[in-house]
Each structure stands twice: as structure tokens, then as C-alpha cells.
Symmetry: C2
Subunit: 215 residues, 2 copies
């Protein structure tokens, strides 16, 4: 079986915005983005990886949170998904936004031009890698033990891999809130129809799941 590159549970606003432009340690998603609103659909499900209490819904949205780890052997993320730093790494003590128990449970490849030693938190190992998308994907596939690779985001990273035509499937949850400005995944989901099949599935929670797979 081919090892797919999959975007999973990526959430954008109704106008296609996934993050504010000005991310900081206090504002991981940038100003104007309230992750509590954007990810409410996922947080309400039984299988949400960060859930600390029992309960949660087991309807449609749960199939998507439940699928987050399914047959995934590695993740690729942009540097901004790891932390707010820019330029050479200053503070190796700060080890990312993901806490001592990151929800990835696989090798994670953080794309950066700046070298930094790998480290492990619980069962997630972060590697810091340069190179173009195809090179990084090769490394992630090699580490994935035959499984698929998840492309974690953010917007800029997903766009780079789309431009390089390396993405096999995307699940994007469109949240019924308009943001106006920020980092935009698309002008319209129709932008991708030339290369992908698209199914649009409204959820009772209010988000609309967009499922793309390569033609």
C-alpha cells in the first residue's frame, strides 16, 4: 500500500482562515482566533485527544477525531505549529506548545532552516529538518514504519505541500465564523477541485467537513 500524506482535522473559518498572522507565546493561533470556538466541534467529541473527562459525543464529528491517529506513522508540521520563535533557536529549554504528553505519539518533523537537536517527550520525538517538502516527506515516510504521514499544518505548510502536489487527502473542517484577516488556506474549497474529489458533509455541530482525495 502507498504511504499517503494526509491532512486531518484542519479547521478554518468560513472565509478559509486557519490562523492569525501574528502568533505569539500567549496567542498560539494569532490574534483574532479563539481556539475555543474554532475547535469546539472537536473538543466536544469522545475521542478528542486532549479530553481529560469521560463523556463526549460519538456522532459524525467523533469519526474525525477518532481517525486522527489511524494508520499514521509520522507527522510533518511547520515551525509555527511547534512554537512562536522565528530565526535561530534561542531557548532550547522551551520545548514547544504541546506539553509533556504531546498528542502525536509518533516521530514529528518540524520544518525549519535552523538546526536544533531532536528530543523526545513521552512517545513523541521531535526532529528539526530543513529542505524542500519532497525531501522532508521522504524522511517522514522513512520514519513512519510503512504507515501514512499526517501533514499537521499550519496554513503555510499545507499550501507548500499542495503547491508541490504531494498531498493525497485532506479533511478540513469549516467553522461557521468569519474572521476577515489572517493566514488563508484557500479563497474557496473549489480551488482544489481540479486535482481532488470533494465531498462536503455538514455536521449537526455546525462545522462543515470537507473531504478531498486525489483524482
Amino acid at each position: 500500500m502507498a504511504q499517503l500524506l494526509r491532512v486531518q482535522n484542519f479547521t478554518v473559518s468560513s472565509d478559509g482562515i486557519g490562523a492569525g498572522a501574528d502568533q505569539s507565546l500567549e496567542d498560539p493561533f494569532g490574534s483574532g482566533i479563539d481556539p475555543g470556538t474554532m475547535f469546539a466541534w472537536a473538543g466536544a467529541t469522545a475521542s478528542w485527544p486532549n479530553r481529560t473527562e469521560p463523556g463526549g459525543s460519538r456522532g459524525l464529528d467523533d469519526y474525525f477525531t477518532r481517525d486522527f491517529t489511524h494508520d499514521i506513522g509520522a507527522e510533518i508540521m511547520g515551525r509555527n505549529k511547534f512554537g512562536p520563535q522565528r530565526g535561530p533557536w534561542q531557548d532550547h529549554e522551551w520545548r514547544g506548545w504541546w506539553g509533556d504528553e504531546p498528542p502525536f505519539h509518533t516521530p514529528v518533523f518540524v520544518m525549519t532552516h535552523h538546526e536544533r537537536p531532536s528530543f523526545t517527550l513521552s512517545d513523541t520525538t521531535f526532529h528539526f529538518v530543513g529542505g524542500d517538502p519532497a525531501t522532508v516527506l521522504d524522511r517522514a515516510r522513512g520514519a513512519a514504519g510503512g504507515k501514512d504521514v499526517r501533514l499537521g499544518g499550519g496554513v503555510t505548510t499545507i499550501r507548500e505541500f499542495l503547491d508541490a502536489d504531494l498531498v493525497d487527502t485532506l479533511h478540513v473542517a469549516v467553522c461557521p465564523v468569519k474572521l476577515g484577516s489572517g493566514l488563508r488556506l484557500w479563497e474557496s474549497p473549489d480551488d482544489l477541485r481540479d486535482r481532488f474529489h470533494l465531498e462536503i458533509v455538514p455536521s449537526p455541530s455546525g462545522v462543515t467537513h470537507h473531504l478531498f482525495w486525489r483524482r
Copy 2:
């Protein structure tokens, strides 16, 4: 985490019928039921367990076929899902409808009042067990290695476990074909609303996914 009892990918007609009453070796689903029509929605997906060729859709329906094995450690099935025999086992050479590579990959508990030794085909071991639903579920949970148990069907078996209030979640795909007679899972999916949340999700393939989870 609790070990759930889950019905997965169970397909019924628009009038709630899952099988004909007169199953035989030639007609596993009973007369009047064409499995090619009933399961076309699943067979078209990339993750359909019996798929022999590459390709297949990766939209909504694929999330359901993909979830078939997710966190499942054992299956319970009624005797009719194993084979058409009734009464004491006559022919131990015939080892079920599922071929040399059954799609279960876990212990399977076949409910029957008639003793028969366990046997293994590939990575699926079939056990033949008597007793009431709660007793059989205890055995399946014990064999599931902490994972969930799938309740495979058919209709009669699912109804027995519903009557005993042992089912935690159900995914039922309702196919847009009316059968008129046969074994009926429900008069209406609303029958279960007193005990279950219900989300109804239409798929572009024509089936309507019904997702139930315990209130």
C-alpha cells in the same frame, strides 16, 4: 476507558430490513437481498476490507469502512452470520462464509447452543459459545485485550443485545432500497431515541448513516 460494545457498518434497507428470513449456503443474506446492492456504498471505498484492487473513494463512506477495525479487540456474531446451518453441527469441514482470510483479525464469538471446537483461520479465531448476551459479552471483553467489542449482527443478534441494553454505539447505514419482507432491525430508527442520541448523516453515495450513542 470502558470497553464499548459497538455495531459497525450494519446495513439495512429503507424499511429497516437487514436479511431475508431464508438464508442458505447459496443465499447468505436470504432471498430478496442482493448484497451487491446493499453493500455497494462500502465496496466503493478505499478501505473496504475485501478490496482486492487499488483505488476507491476516500470521502465520508470511507471513514466508516476505515473505522471497522479501529480499537476493536473481538467480535460477537450470531450463528447465521457464520453459516447457514441450524441445529447440531454436521459438517466441521465447512468453516464459515468468511474464507481463509476472514476480515475480523481478532477472536470471534459465534453464539450457538451447539458445541463446536474453536479453530483459527489466518489471524481470526472462531469460538462457539452459548449463554445469554451478557455472558457472551463478558467472554468477548476478556479476549479483547482492553479494546472494544464489535457486535457483528445479524438483525436477531443485534436485537437481543439491544433488548438486554448492552449496546453502547451503533452505526447503521440505511440503503435507499425497499425490501418489504425479511428480518427487521427496527420499525423506525426513532424506536431507539429514548436510549440513544441519534445523528443522521446523508452520504453522497445514497446511503444515510445513522449514528447512535448511549444517552
